[in-house]
Every structure is written in structure tokens, then in C-alpha cells.
């Protein structure tokens, strides 16, 4: 049962990737989807078993991996509440995305490859979450990174997709270096990388110092920060966030699965898994809190002015991940996991909804060319509305009734407030979180208004014909679509998506509505202690959780109020005066430019890192590699060998007396040599 969860997707990936030629594309896709369904069933049964108390947390060792001296690593499936939740999230979203992709990728020539990648991603993600030691986690970590790279660059004939894929890969490497160093540190300090062995020794090494040359650092804090750097890369936190918006170059189902629901939450999972470390490493925990709050605020502010429908949601994801880190940094890992859980549903819903819009608009992503789509895409509109209600946190303050985001986001802000009672930075995080909630409401409703209400700008786009760059790029990838469009000018009229795409939306919408209410008590409420079963045991009686429950009513109502303010602002601006806002967006201003350029991060990195790295690489390539190594190495040797070969061959004149002469030279030379050595 344990192994089925992880290895059914691997089987699906292998079948879809290697056997598509023999069983056909549809066969490959069906196999991958069916095996994904098997994995989902297995994951749900594991989760329910743990939830109902029928089964205990346990670890199944599959195989020994590495054993060198004291260093041991196993392939294992660790089943506890933390991994079970992740398994359910990963397999359920992945299954729905598989189904959805039948519709979304219907016209693509390489759809079986797409399914193979999706299944492989799921396998890697499951290896990550079921790891029993840091090394297997790192394996999964790199595996999802690879899958992400492949899927972002899935339409490899687009230059932008390739650059985005490379950007994601490279930025993630920065984080991975931190993670890898962290693992090295863990092994050096604890003598093991197995989770239980590490966590049980924490009290013993609390005071250890890391002395290296001039450095004298607290060991545990250093490890905690290094591991968090890994988490920052994968979860696109401030400074290492730049890859996530660009990753939207991948097909939309990928964005929903990898860049919203699962992979990007791996960092949150890592921090939660290492809760025992962060409970002790207060400095690192505070750093997490701060970075999370800044990320949440920054990404939300940038989201305010984006015009690409997927980018808005991408920044929203970034921002929500910041929330999760705020909770984790505050010590409320339960709240972080809760938000991770609910976020997976409503963010996947929003992405797949956006995908449905894009599909209906014939791969148009610019919201300025949309508008008034509510009538043409009624189901999509309803589902997107539910997703928006969920992310903006609509519910009844003071009770536990509301959309998923209402409960989980409020849990985070309450935790931040509670932590703020004895940590000032947490107060700052709380206020930034509130402001973020306002921004979130604004950009989410802005998206709804620009896309589904107001004037129908797509009519103008039809008149303009094929000049839309996004569309042109898309035509390159889909020749059939091009001919179709050329034959019928009115084919641009938006249309509702097929049932295979709408059904996953509906299922996710159910989660977005109900997941919060259904799971509030076990994740965060009164049942939490028995639910988590000691995974987050660090805090004891003065638990943040407990304090959060006793937060004053104004704290509990503030996020909702912020959401309402955001909604009102959105109605006033984009709802009532869309054309005015449009003009404003075009005219701009310093603030608008600052936000539209994402705080100038890309420009800064371009100038500081990319240019210099390019210059350095250029120098190494031209001077060191080609100029020195190749010239005196392979090329030089090859040339010398050729010349020597020619010379040896020319000696072979064919005349007997030449040959005899060479022999005699040999005899004389060797004789003289030998006699000289005798004389000595």
C-alpha cells in the first residue's frame, strides 16, 4: 500500500514515456491517468486510516541506498500525518490535472510526453514527501526540479519558454546549494540524516558551535538557515522568487499542479518536517517569519498591476506561500500546513479556471483583451468566483464558517498575532499580513472584473487579427489551430471548455468551499493534538496554537475586513470604471511602473548576476576552455598526433636499404647506450 502511492505514478510515467509508440497516445494518457487514480485511492486510504486511528504512523523501508561508513541512506516510505496530508494533496490535484489535461492538451502533438512528465513529477514529489531521511528528500527535491524544468520548457520551440525553464532551474540551484550544505551540516552534527535520529538528538547539540576559520556560528541555527535557503528557492520566497512568474510559460495545468498546489509548497513542508529544529533555532525561525511576511506583501503588491491572467495568480501563489512561512516561522506549523492544504484546492481551482479561460480565448492570456466573458463561460465564471471567494477569505468572523481560505488564512494571522505578543517582528508580520489580505482581495476581484465583466475587448482583438504575440507564439506550437483560425475569422469567439476540463473545476471548487470548514478542527482546532500525534510537539503548554485561539475578536475579524475593503476598492475602480482604469494603467506613473516592473528585481539581477555571470562564462569559454584547455589539450594533441603519424608514415619509404639503415642506427644507438651504462 505504501509503495503503491509512490510507484504507481512512476509506472505511469514509464508507460506514457516509453511505450506511447506501441500503445498509442490515448493509451499512454489513459494508463498514466488510471495509475494516478490508483495512487490517489491508496493515498486517501492511508490518510483515512491515520485519521480514524486505525493505523499507526510507520515507515516502510524499500531498499538500502547508500552505506558508507557511518553514512546510511535508505529508500523508504514514511507514513505519518504530515506526509499523508501531502500525499493526498499531491495525488488528488495531480489526478485532477491529469484529467483536465485531456481537454487542455487535446490539440498538442506531444501530449503523451506531457503526461509522462506529469506522472514523473508526481512520483518525485511523492518521494520528497515520503522521505525518511534528508537524502531521499533531496532526491525528490531535485526530481521535482527536473520535472518542473521539463514542463516549463514543454513548448520548447518558444524561446521564452526555454529561458523561463533555465531561469527556474538556475534559481533553484541557488537554493539547492543551501539545502545540500544543510544536509552536510546535519550529518556532520548529528552523525545521521535519518529524521527521527536527528530530531531526537536536538537537545544534546543545542549549544554546539560551528567554527571554521574566522567564523564562529551557532551550529543548529546555521543548519536551520541553510535548509531554509533551500526552502526559499523551491517555494519562491523573496530574493529567490524571480523564477515563479516566468514559470507560467509552461502549460496551465502544469502551473496548477507544480507552481501552485504542490512543488512550491515543498519548502513549507521541509520547514514543517524540521519543526523540531526550528523550535530550537529561534533566529532561523524569526528569519522565516520575516522573509515570509516580506514575500507575502511584495508579491501581493506586484500582483496589483499585472495584466497577464496567469501572472496575477502566480504572484498570488508567491504571496500565499509567504503566508505559510509566516505561520511556520511563528511556530504554528499546523496553520502553515492547513493553509498549504486549503491553498492547494483554491489555487489549483483558480489556475485551472484561468486555463479554461485561456482555452476558451484561444490561448489569449492578456486580461486587457478579455472582458465580459461571464456569459460565454458561465461554468468557468462560477468556479472562478468560488475560487476568488476562497482566496479572499470570505466567511463569518467569529465563527468557523466560511470558504477554505477564510479559515486557514485567519489561522495564520491569528498565529502571527499570538507570536507577536512576545516577538516584535511577528507584530510587523501580522500587520503586513493584514495589508496583504487587502491587496489579495483587490487583485483577485480585479481579475474577475477584468476578465468576466465590463466591455468585451476581445471583439477588438478579433478585428486586429493575428497580431497578438502570445497567440502567434501559440500558433507556432499548434499548426492545426492556425489553419482552423485562418479559415474562420469568427473562430475567436470565446467558448466554454469541454466537460473533462470543467469536472475537475467543480471537484476543486467543492474543496475550496468545504476543506476549511471540514478540516479546521483537526488541523488547527481542538482535535489538533490527536490529529498531529506529536509531530509538532516542540512548544508544549505555551503553544502558539493555544494563544491564537484566544486572540481578541478584532484580530479575528480584521482579515475579513481587509478583504471587504479590497473588494470595495476593486468594485469602485475596475467594477464601475473599467475604461478609466485601463487608461490609467496605460499612462502609468512611478508607483505603477515600480510595481509593474516587479520592484525592478529582474533588472537588478540582470545587471548584478546575469551580466557578470555571462561575462565570466564568456571569459572561461573563450580563454580557458577553448583558448587554453582545448588548444593545448585535445586539439593540440590531435594535431601533434596527426603530424607525428604523417612523419612516421613518410619514414616508411619502401626501400630495403632505408629499412636496413634504420636497423643499423638502432643497433648502434642501443649499443652505445648499453656500453655507456657499463662504463659508468
Amino acid at each position: 500500500m505504501d509503495a503503491v502511492v509512490a510507484f504507481a505514478p512512476l509506472a505511469g510515467a514509464l508507460i506514457a514515456g516509453l511505450l506511447a509508440r506501441y500503445i498509442g497516445k490515448a493509451g499512454a494518457m489513459a494508463a498514466a491517468t488510471a495509475l494516478m487514480g490508483v495512487a490517489l485511492a491508496a493515498a486517501v486510504s492511508l490518510f483515512l486510516g491515520l485519521y480514524a486511528g486505525d493505523a499507526q504512523a510507520h515507515t516502510t523501508i524499500i531498499a538500502r541506498w547508500i552505506e558508507i561508513g557511518g553514512f546510511k541512506a535508505n529508500w523508504a516510505i514514511r507514513v505519518d500525518m504530515l506526509s499523508a496530508i501531502m500525499m493526498v494533496v499531491v495525488t488528488s490535484v495531480s489526478f485532477l490535472v491529469h484529467v483536465y489535461s485531456w481537454g487542455y492538451m487535446a490539440e498538442d502533438a506531444n501530449k503523451s510526453r506531457f503526461f509522462a512528465y506529469l506522472s514523473f513529477f508526481t512520483f518525485a514529489m511523492l518521494m520528497l514527501v515520503t522521505a525518511d531521511d534528508f537524502l531521499q528528500m533531496f532526491f525528490g527535491w531535485e526530481g521535482v526540479g527536473l520535472a518542473s524544468y521539463l514542463l516549463i520548457g514543454f513548448w520548447f520551440d518558444r524561446k521564452s519558454a526555454n529561458s523561463a525553464a533555465i531561469k527556474a532551474f538556475v534559481v533553484n540551484r541557488v537554493g539547492d546549494v543551501g539545502f545540500a550544505l544543510g544536509i552536510v551540516g546535519v550529518f556532520a552534527l548529528f552523525g545521521s540524516i535519518q529524521f527521527d535520529a536527528v530530531f531526537s538528538q536536538i537537545e544534546a547539540v543545542k549549544e554546539a558551535r560551528l567554527v571554521a576559520g574566522p567564523l564562529d556560528l551557532p551550529y543548529l541555527e546555521t543548519i536551520a538557515v541553510l535548509l531554509f535557503i533551500g526552502a526559499m528557492g523551491k517555494s519562491a520566497q523573496f530574493f529567490l522568487h524571480v523564477w515563479l512568474p516566468d514559470a507560467m510559460e509552461g502549460p496551465t495545468p502544469v502551473s496548477a499542479l507544480i507552481h501552485a498546489a504542490t512543488m512550491v509548497t515543498a519548502g513549507v513542508f521541509l520547514v514543517s518536517r524540521c519543526a523540531a529544529i526550528y523550535d530550537v533555532a529561534h533566529g532561523a525561525a524569526t528569519l522565516i517569519l520575516l522573509v515570509g511576511a516580506v514575500t507575502a506583501f511584495f508579491a501581493a503588491s506586484v500582483g496589483l498591476v499585472q495584466n497577464d491572467i496567469k501572472r496575477v495568480i502566480a504572484y498570488s501563489t508567491c504571496s500565499q506561500l509567504g503566508y505559510m512561512f509566516v505561520a511556520a516561522g511563528a511556530g504554528a506549523y499546523q496553520a502553515a500546513m492547513f493553509h498549504l492544504f486549503t491553498h492547494a484546492f483554491f489555487k489549483a481551482l483558480l489556475f485551472l479556471g484561468a486555463g479554461s479561460v485561456i482555452h476558451g480565448m484561444h490561448h489569449e492570456q492578456d486580461m486587457r483583451r478579455m472582458g465580459g466573458l461571464a456569459r460565454a463561460l458561465p461554468v468557468t465564471y462560477a468556479m472562478m468566483l468560488i475560487g476568488t471567494l476562497a482566496i479572499t477569505g470570505v466567511g463569518i468572523p467569529g465563527t468557523h464558517i466560511g470558504f477554505a481560505g477564510f479559515l486557514s488564512k485567519d489561522a495564520i494571522l491569528e498565529s502571527a498575532y499570538a507570536r507577536g505578543l512576545d516577538l516584535e517582528i511577528a507584530q510587523l508580520a501580522f500587520w503586513m499580513g493584514l495589508l496583504t489580505a487587502l491587496f489579495t482581495a483587490f487583485y483577485s476581484w480585479r481579475l474577475i472584473f477584468m476578465t468576466f465583466h465590463g466591455p468585451k475587448y476581445w471583439r477588438e482583438a478579433v478585428a486586429h487579427g493575428h497580431d497578438a504575440p502570445a497567440h502567434a507564439a501559440h500558433d507556432g506550437a499548434h499548426p492545426q489551430a492556425t489553419t482552423h483560425d485562418d479559415d474562420h475569422g469568427d473562430a475567436h469567439v470565446p467558448h466554454e471548455s469541454p466537460i473533462v476540463m470543467l469536472a475537475p473545476l467543480v471537484l476543486l471548487a467543492i474543496g475550496a468551499v468545504g476543506a476549511g470548514m471540514a478540516f479546521y478542527e483537526p488541523f488547527f482546532g481542538k482535535e489538533a493534538e490527536s490529529f498531529w500525534h506529536g509531530i509538532f510537539a516542540g512548544h508544549g503548554e505555551h503553544s502558539v496554537l493555544e494563544a491564537a485561539h484566544h486572540a481578541p475578536l478584532w484580530v479575528k475579524s480584521a482579515p475579513f475586513a481587509a478583504g471587504v475593503i479590497g473588494l470595495v476598492l476593486a468594485i469602485v475602480t475596475y467594477g464601475f470604471n473599467p475604461r478609466g482604469m485601463r487608461a490609467m494603467g496605460e499612462k502609468g506613473g512611478p508607483m505603477q511602473a515600480f510595481l509593474a516592473h516587479k520592484w525592478y528585481f529582474d533588472e537588478l539581477y540582470q545587471a548584478v548576476f546575469v551580466r557578470n555571470a555571462e561575462r565570466l562564462g564568456d571569459w572561461f569559454s573563450k580563454r580557458i576552455d577553448r583558448g587554453t584547455i582545448d588548444r593545448f589539450g585535445p586539439d593540440g594533441w590531435a594535431l601533434a598526433s596527426r603530424l607525428t603519424g604523417g612523419w612516421v608514415s613518410r619514414l616508411q619509404s619502401g626501400f630495403v636499404y632505408h629499412y636496413a639503415f634504420v636497423m643499423l642506427i638502432g643497433v648502434v644507438g642501443l649499443g652505445v647506450f648499453a656500453l655507456m651504462s657499463v662504463g659508468r
Binding site: S641, L651, A660, M663, G666, G671, L675
Partner: protein
């Protein structure tokens, strides 16, 4: 009056006596029984090889130590028995491969079989030689039939040229060898290996010079640089099966007696001859590696390949007596691989014409996949790429060199084997990647799959067989 030889001497000489008897019998039958076919003659000689091999192995494994006979001129022990058996096998294999070729060029004459028989007799005598006279006898007994074999295609100008060149240069080499022997006899007063070892010392100028001359003569026979110049021309001009024969058994016998002469007759002078052998080794490896780079004729290429491989074998000789096992293992692998490659060349034809140029092999994989794989494995093996047998052979030799503190020689060998790998890989590239220029004829006799399987056996199956040789090295 003391008898010239005892009954024991005759028993120990059974392999050579049998070979001589069969070779003479073949000449007789050939002359008086015109109807006997080439195949029957070859079968007769093969039978002779069988008897000789069985007798040799029996003697070798019956004896606890070394047996000597004919007043100490003739020796026999396990090592020698193994080498002799391998020599007979190699001769038999090359003889079997020649039949189709000789029939195709209408040269299937009984003299060929007789000459192979006599040459093999010479090698057998060489392997057992225990005195300078026996060495010389064996060398000449091997060389004279070889000159004739090189020119066996007597209507071909190239063949005659090859035979003549070989003969003239071989005569010079024999002269050098004999002059060296006479010097050594003159200064030490002994002919037997053991007696020379007892009397020779490194300070003696006469003996040193004699030793150098003998080394030069033997270096010619095994085609070590700078005494290699005849090799490419003779290999190219001689009929292909004769080339295969030259590249196989005589190398084995020559290198073996080279090593025994150094190890048994001049053990105390090792510091004197080691640098000379090392120079020969490095020169041979270099010539073998660089000389073949620009060749377009397969047989010439194989000539340089054999020069290079002799260089690697010389590393083992330079390493000293402990490396005898490594030398035997290396030569066994090299000789077997070479026979396999020539077997491939002799099984492929374009409209009745045998392959000569490298381009003739192009596109082989498309038409004769099994043959292409077989040749490919063998070429990988001879290039020294693991896990093929050739790699292990080279490894043994290099290890022996390193143990004898000849690290620089081993390093040079490794670097030069990288250069040499180029032309082996080029052959594979031509077979696999280049477009076919002509159709290959349908297989004659041996199907190409047989060769492929044989190649696998030869290449990979050798690895476990190395263990006894290693034990032999360890003593």
C-alpha cells in the same frame, strides 16, 4: 661412448618430433599422392598439432618442475607447455581460416600446409629452447618458411616484393643474432641459459655488446621498433591468411623466448638490459600508435597494431621475471583477438574480392550486423576498453610495470594507448556510421553470427580465465 641422447630426451621431444614427422609426411603425401585435397592435408597437420599439444600438456603437467633434455639444450615445464599449446591452437586457427581464401585465389597447395607445419615446429623449438644454439635453430626454422609464405602468392609483384624484403632484412637480423651469440659464447664460454647466467656479469663489455646484438636480432623477429620497418610492407604484401598467421603464433613464440632468454640467461644483468627493453617498448608503442593514424589499408593498420602491442608486451619483459604470467596472459589475449579480427576480414568479400582498404568496411552493420558487432567487440578489446579482455591484458602488463618501478613506462603506455584507440574506433565508425559503398557477398562457410558469438566469448569470457594466470604471476 656416451650416447648422444637418452630415451627420456626422445620422450620429452615428442611434440617436436611429431610435428616434424607430420610436416615431412605432408610433403611426401603431397608429392606422391596428387589427389589428396588441401583440406585433407590441413586435417593431417591439425592432427599433428593435436598430438603435439596433448603430449606437451601431458609433459608439462606431469613434471613437478622443469625438465631438461638433450644435454640441457631443451627444456620443458608448465609455462612452456601452456605457451606451446596456445601456439598450436593459433597456428591451427589461422590455417583453418586460410582454406577458403587460398581456394578462391587458386593457391590451395599442399606446400602451404607443410610450410605452416615447419614454421610451427620452429616456434615449438623456440618455446623449449634452453641454449643459444636451440634459440638460433628455432628462429631459423621459423623464419625460413615465413619468407616463403610471405611470397606464397608468387605471381603477385607485391607478394614477391614482400617475401624478398622480409628475407633480406631477416638475414641481417639473423646475422646480428648470431654475432651476439658468438660474442656471448666467446666471453662466457657457455651456451646454455643456466651456465651463461652463472658466468655473465654486468661489467663485462663483450657480454654487454653481445647481449645488445641479440636483443636487436630478437626485436626484429617480434617486430619491435626500430627494427619494425619490414612489418607494414610484409603484412600488406603477403596474402591475408599469411598476414594473420604472422600476426598470431610467431609473436607469441618470439616474445616468450625473448622473455625467457632475458630472465633465465641474464638475470643478474637486469639493470643493464631493462632500459634497453624499455626504450624498445616505448618506441614500439609510439610507432604503433602514430604510424597507424593515417593508414588506409587494413592490413598495414594491423601491422602497426601488432608493433604497438609488442611494445606493451615488452613492458612486461622490462618488468622482470615476476611479470612472466602477465606477459603470457597479455599475449594470449592479443593473439586471440587478432585472429578474430583477421577471421572477420577473411569472411568478407565484395564480388569475390577480399577487403584491403578501410573504406571497404563501410556500412557493414547494415548488411552483416553480426559480423559488425563481432568485429566491433574485438576492436574495443584490442583498443583496451573495459570490460573487454584486452583491457585486462593491458592492465596486467601495466601493473607489472608499476610493480617494477617503471611507472613512467606504464604512464607512457596508457597515453599512447589513447592515441592508438583512435584508429580502432575509426574502424568501428566506418563500419557503423559510414554509408555502404558496395554490397558484401553472401557469407562463405562460417556464418557471421558465429564470429559475433566467438568475439563475445573471446572478449568477455576471458575475464575469469585470467585468474590462473594471475596465480601464475603470484607464484
Amino acid at each position: 661412448m656416451e650416447a648422444l641422447f637418452s630415451r627420456f630426451d626422445l620422450v620429452l621431444g615428442i611434440p617436436e618430433i611429431a610435428l616434424a614427422a607430420f610436416a615431412v609426411a605432408i610433403v611426401m603425401v603431397g608429392v606422391f599422392q596428387r589427389r589428396a585435397s588441401f583440406g585433407q592435408m590441413a586435417g593431417l597437420l591439425a592432427f599433428g598439432f593435436l598430438i603435439a599439444g596433448a603430449a606437451s600438456l601431458l609433459h608439462g603437467f606431469a613434471a613437478p618442475d622443469r625438465w631438461t633434455a638433450f644435454n640441457g639444450f631443451f627444456a620443458h615445464d608448465r609455462e612452456i607447455a601452456i605457451v606451446k599449446a596456445l601456439i598450436y591452437l593459433a597456428s591451427a586457427a589461422t590455417l583453418a581460416m586460410s582454406m577458403r581464401f587460398l581456394q578462391a585465389v587458386e593457391r590451395a597447395q599442399f606446400e602451404y600446409v607443410a610450410l605452416i607445419g615447419f614454421a610451427t615446429l620452429g616456434m615449438s623449438v623456440l618455446a623449449s629452447a634452453n641454449s643459444l644454439l636451440t634459440v638460433y635453430l628455432g628462429v631459423e626454422l621459423l623464419s625460413l618458411p615465413s619468407y616463403v609464405l610471405a611470397a606464397f602468392h608468387r605471381d603477385s609483384a607485391r607478394g614477391s616484393e614482400a617475401g624478398l624484403k622480409y628475407f633480406v632484412l631477416g638475414a641481417i637480423a639473423s646475422g646480428l643474432l648470431l654475432y651476439g651469440m658468438s660474442l656471448i659464447y666467446g666471453f662466457s664460454g657457455a651456451l646454455g641459459f643456466a651456465e651463461i647466467a652463472a658466468r655473465a656479469s654486468s661489467g663485462d663489455v663483450g657480454i654487454t655488446f653481445g647481449l645488445v646484438l641479440m636483443i636487436c636480432g630478437l626485436a626484429f623477429k617480434v617486430s619491435a621498433a626500430p627494427f619494425h620497418m619490414w612489418t607494414p610492407d610484409v603484412y600488406e604484401g603477403a596474402p591475408t591468411p599469411v598476414t594473420a598467421f604472422f600476426a598470431a603464433a610467431p609473436k607469441f613464440a618470439g616474445m616468450f623466448i625473448f622473455a625467457r632468454l632475458m630472465f633465465e640467461a641474464f638475470p643478474s644483468m637486469i639493470e643493464g638490459w631493462r632500459p634497453i627493453i624499455a626504450i624498445l617498448a616505448i618506441a614500439s608503442m609510439a610507432v604503433g600508435a602514430f604510424g597507424a593514424l593515417l593508414q588506409s589499408n587494413v592490413k598495414r593498420l594491423m601491422a602497426y597494431s601488432s608493433i604497438g602491442n609488442i611494445g606493451y608486451g615488452l613492458i612486461a619483459i622490462a618488468a622482470g621475471p615476476e611479470a612472466m604470467g602477465a606477459l603470457i596472459a597479455y599475449l594470449a589475449i592479443y593473439v586471440t583477438t587478432t585472429i578474430g579480427i583477421f577471421g572477420g576480414l577473411l569472411a568478407l568479400r565484395h564480388q569475390g574480392a577480399y577487403l584491403e582498404r578501410i573504406e571497404d568496411l563501410s556500412g557493414l552493420i547494415g548488411q552483416r550486423a553480426g559480423m559488425a558487432y563481432g568485429l566491433g567487440f574485438l576492436l574495443f578489446s584490442v583498443a583496451g576498453i573495459p570490460p573487454f579482455a584486452g583491457f585486462w591484458g593491458k592492465l596486467l602488463v601495466f601493473q607489472a610495470g608499476v610493480r617494477a618501478d617503471l611507472v613512467w613506462l606504464a604512464v607512457a603506455g596508457i597515453l599512447l594507448s589513447v592515441v592508438a584507440a583512435f584508429y580502432y574506433l575509426r574502424l568501428i565508425k566506418v563500419m557503423v556510421m559510414d554509408k555502404a559503398q558496395a554490397r558484401f557477398d553472401t557469407p562463405l562457410g562460417i556464418p557471421s553470427w558465429t564470429l559475433a558469438i566467438a568475439a563475445l566469448m573471446v572478449s568477455v569470457g576471458y575475464i575469469p580465465l585470467l585468474a590462473p594466470f594471475l596465480r601464475l604471476v603470484g607464484g
